[in-house]
């Protein structure tokens, strides 16, 4: 009997939700078969069978919250009572030719799993006095038992946890033409983090507009040869990433974060690029974008976007960004005030390119214009810095030759 455990979810991720079981109890499984999908704050991940056998028990049903190291279910040995393993496991399962002894142990294992391990006296006291849900505490003791330390940690965690956003008040009744749908873990996290950012930062947005002519001309001129040479489309993001890095270098505090009474300046430029996916907005990070060429940036964004659509983003892909670019323009937004991606201090909002009459050298001309928004944490970045930043971005986009000359 092998336990199927919740894997380590990565730093700062403490909990996952069981999204879907792909196998039923009693199903024959082969090593590396995906058994169950988990959803965390940031990514969804799959848990595969570590050995051949059959799924003998499911401990965490769909929708259940699980912690790293918590048992999700169990795999029973393929060989039971000395009987040889079925030659064709799939057929064996379908014709219910799983060895009788194995079937018997399914029942036994399920029964055992339904009955939680008894709590030790000290744990019982801590759980009762603090009204904890013992089932929700990850056990670090032998066979996953909860130790007093685990229970005390749960008390502490609850004390420091932010008030829950959902179900704080009793759920209201549902009327006939309403539908209640549980927010996915990703949605809950987005909700919580956005609210955190709003509560923590002194958030303010400054605007500017940028004439996209130069970049668009450049793009139409070299579109084909760029794609031929680099195997990736030439978009606008590469230019904006590079322009932002130039601006961040000019106003380093936008690339910094607050830590208690200190400021942490980051001498690396890891740019988060907000990407819409089926599951919601995710922000994969283009790492060390300052040392990349525009082609490399475009290629990386393409790869991360594909991963986001496949749902195969790893936690590492999402962590540790120093600045974020959000492009509401792809959905047609003309103007918006993006919310910071905490603990970062700045986020650039790109918008829809729209032909507008503008005055150039005393003449009204039609130019492809885009509004730019920079939301920033006013605790760190003062108004002058924010405006300088945005002007710098504007300058580089309006004259992309500057990118080449680094001026």
């Amino acid at each position: 009997m092998t336990d199927i455990m919740t894997p380590t979810l990565g730093e700062s991720v403490t909990e996952a939700t069981v999204a879907r079981w792909l196998k039923k109890t009693g199903d024959v499984v082969k090593r590396d078969d995906v058994l169950v999908e988990l959803e965390t704050d940031k990514v969804s991940l799959e848990v595969a069978a570590s050995e051949d056998g059959f799924l003998s028990a499911i401990d965490a049903e769909e929708g259940a919250a699980v912690l790293p190291g918590q048992r999700l279910g169990r795999i029973g040995a393929a060989i039971a009572g000395g009987a040889p393993a079925p030659q064709t496991p799939q057929t064996a399962a379908e014709t219910s030719a799983v060895p009788v002894a194995a079937k018997a142990s399914v029942g036994a294992a399920t029964a055992a799993a339904e009955k939680p391990l008894p709590l030790s006296p000290a744990v019982q006291r801590v759980v009762t006095e603090n009204k904890l849900d013992a089932a929700a505490i990850a056990g670090g003791g032998k066979e996953g038992r909860i130790t007093k330390g685990d229970a005390l940690a749960a008390v502490k965690a609850r004390a420091s946890a932010p008030p829950p956003l959902v179900a704080a008040t009793p759920a209201r009744e549902i009327h006939a033409r309403e539908e209640r749908v549980r927010m996915t873990r990703l949605r809950q996290t987005i909700a919580r983090r956005l609210k955190e950012a709003q509560q923590t930062a002194a958030m303010l947005t400054t605007f500017n507009e940028v004439d996209m002519s130069a970049v668009m001309d450049l793009r139409s001129q070299y579109k084909e040869s760029f794609e031929k040479r680099h195997g990736v489309m030439l978009g606008f993001m590469g230019f904006f990433v590079k322009a932002c890095i130039a601006a961040l270098k000019e106003v380093p505090v936008v690339n910094a974060e607050i830590d208690g009474q200190d400021l942490i300046y980051k001498n690396h430029y890891d740019i988060g690029v907000a990407v819409g996916s089926e599951r919601g907005l995710v922000v994969p990070v283009v790492r060390d974008a300052d040392v990349m060429s525009i082609a490399e940036v475009e290629r990386e964004i393409g790869a991360l976007g594909k991963k986001a659509r496949d749902g195969s983003l790893a936690l590492e892909d999402l962590q540790g960004g120093t600045f974020t670019i959000s492009n509401g323009g792809v959905y047609g937004s003309l103007m918006s005030t993006p919310i910071l991606n905490a603990p970062q201090s700045g986020i650039l909002g790109m918008h829809k390119i729209q032909d507008r009459p503008v005055v150039v050298r005393g003449q009204v001309v039609i130019r492809p214009m885009m509004y730019l928004a920079l939301s920033y944490d006013h605790r760190v970045v003062d108004g002058q810095g924010a405006v300088t930043f945005l002007v710098k971005v504007k300058d580089h986009i309006e004259d992309p030759r500057r990118l080449l000359l680094e001026i």
């Binding site: 030790s120 006296p121 000290a122 006291r125 130790t147 007093k148 330390g149 005390l152």
Partner: protein, 465 residues
């Protein structure tokens, strides 16, 4: 040529327990032992016979000192040959017991000395000098240890003896000098002290029982001193001349200084034990023991394919139960199972009177590693059972993590504590907190209540002191 799944070299606690476990798991197994009986040092000339003499001598001591107080008037008289004979009979019964277990679990006992002659090959030389070759898929070295010799003090087996010799002295010495204040020296010194000898323990270090929790070690030294054992600490023996009637020793301060003479009827050299790893053919399979003779292993696997080592020949405490646990885990690993030894929970017992029992970290170790901890302590003077038995010496000390309350170490000195430490081993194996023990019902009146009261003490609610 016989071929086995497992060949175990050595029939001590590591070897015989490993062999039994292998038999249980359906492996074909041979156990090579050069002694005429199974059980190794522990059963033949170590733990077991020494416990026999400790018990018998303690009875004599009680009869001499305690009975009158309880209203029993007797005039005890020592019969040393009988005491030795009952010890030998117990040992014989127990070695036969291992033989029985071998038969029961289909373990083949090969008599003779084993030596590796290649990967998977063991050459056995029997008492008559005839050799045979065994082949095994896995070979486990469990050859144990032997007393460490002391330069300048040659064990002659007559007047200057090692631990085995001290278990079979022909008479009660007028003056026994014990060199080394470790577990063996103190236990055997206690035996002869109770049987009437004057006992002097000479120790190189400035404290007894190195590695023991310091507070507990001090309490033990105080108690043994009260019983009449003389300690010469920070002292070294630099010379020994044995005659027909005794031994003349030269003692010097460990730091250097003026030498003085010390005469003894018998001398016990008990400065430690060293792994038995020479003449095993280790070089043939490419195993090089470290300078002190220990074999390095990774989960019992040596560098050589299919060759494993357990017990005293490997690093860690030289204890029979450690060897036993390792052997079981090693065999389970060989059988493809999940063998495991938790080195944080290996108890140690000193069978003096009072006994000392300990498991986990000492206060000194916790301080050195910067772990914040709380102490709960309870004296046996406040324990009713110990009190009515007139054996209220000692205490129980529980060390627990200051943040999680997890039990990190337990050190006790007192009556029968060796039989009580197992409770804390189970608790620690399950990562229990002091409160878990404090909230577990213990029978009244028993000495085991002291374990609970000490656990309560960690969080400041000891009720009976």
């Amino acid at each position: 040529m016989a071929e086995y799944d497992v060949i175990i070299i050595g029939g001590g606690p590591g070897g015989y327990n490993g062999a039994i476990r292998a038999g249980q798991l359906g492996l074909s197994v041979a156990c090579v032992e050069k002694r005429e009986t199974l059980g190794g040092t522990c059963l033949n000339v170590g733990c077991i016979p020494s416990k026999s003499l400790l018990h018998a001598s303690e009875m004599l001591d009680l009869a001499n000192k305690q009975f009158a107080r309880l209203g029993i008037d007797v005039t005890p008289k020592l019969n040393l040959p009988t005491m030795m004979r009952q010890k030998d009979e117990s040992v014989a019964q127990l070695t036969k017991g291992v033989e029985f277990l071998f038969n029961k679990n289909k373990v083949e006992w090969i008599k003779g000395g084993g030596r590796l002659t290649g990967l998977g090959r063991v050459e056995v030389t029997d008492a008559g000098g005839a050799t045979s070759i065994l082949e095994g898929k896995s070979i486990v070295i469990a050859t144990g240890s032997r007393p460490t010799p002391l330069p300048g003090v040659t064990v002659d087996g007559v007047r200057i003896v090692d631990s085995a010799g001290a278990l079979a002295l022909p008479e009660v010495p007028g003056h026994l000098v014990v060199i080394g204040a470790g577990v063996i020296g103190l236990e055997l010194g206690s035996v002869w002290r109770r049987l009437g000898a004057k006992v002097t323990v000479v120790e190189y270090l400035d404290h007894i029982t190195p590695g023991l929790d310091a507070e507990t070690a001090k309490a033990l030294q105080r108690s043994l001193s009260k019983q009449g054992i003389t300690f010469k600490l920070s002292a070294k023996i630099t010379g020994a001349t044995a005659s027909k009637v005794g031994v003349d020793l030269t003692v010097e301060p460990a730091a250097g200084g003026t030498a003085e003479g010390l005469s003894a009827d018998y001398v016990l050299v008990a400065i430690g034990r060293q792994p038995y790893t020479d003449d095993l053919g280790l070089d043939v399979v490419g195993i090089t023991p470290d300078p002190r003779g220990f074999i390095d292993t990774d989960h019992f696997a040596t560098g050589a394919a299919g060759v494993y080592a357990v017990g005293d020949v490997t690093h860690g405490p030289m204890l029979a139960h450690k060897a036993e646990d390792e052997a079981v885990a090693c065999i389970e690993i060989i059988a493809g199972k999940a063998g495991h030894v938790n080195y944080d929970v290996i108890p140690g017992v000193i069978y003096t009177s009072p006994e000392v029992a300990t498991v986990g970290k000492t206060e000194e170790e916790l301080k050195a590693t910067g772990v914040t901890y709380k102490v709960g302590k309870f004296p046996f003077t406040a324990n009713s059972r110990a009190k009515v038995n007139h054996e209220a010496e000692g205490f129980v000390k529980v060390l627990a993590d200051a943040n999680t309350d997890r039990i990190l170490g337990v050190h006790m000195i007192g009556p029968g504590v060796g039989e009580m430490i197992g409770e804390y081993c189970v608790a620690m194996e399950f990562a229990a907190s002091s409160e878990d023990v404090a909230r577990t019902c213990h029978p009244h009146p028993t000495r085991s209540e002291a374990l609970r009261q000490a656990a309560m003490g960690v969080e400041g609610w000891t009720m009976q002191a």
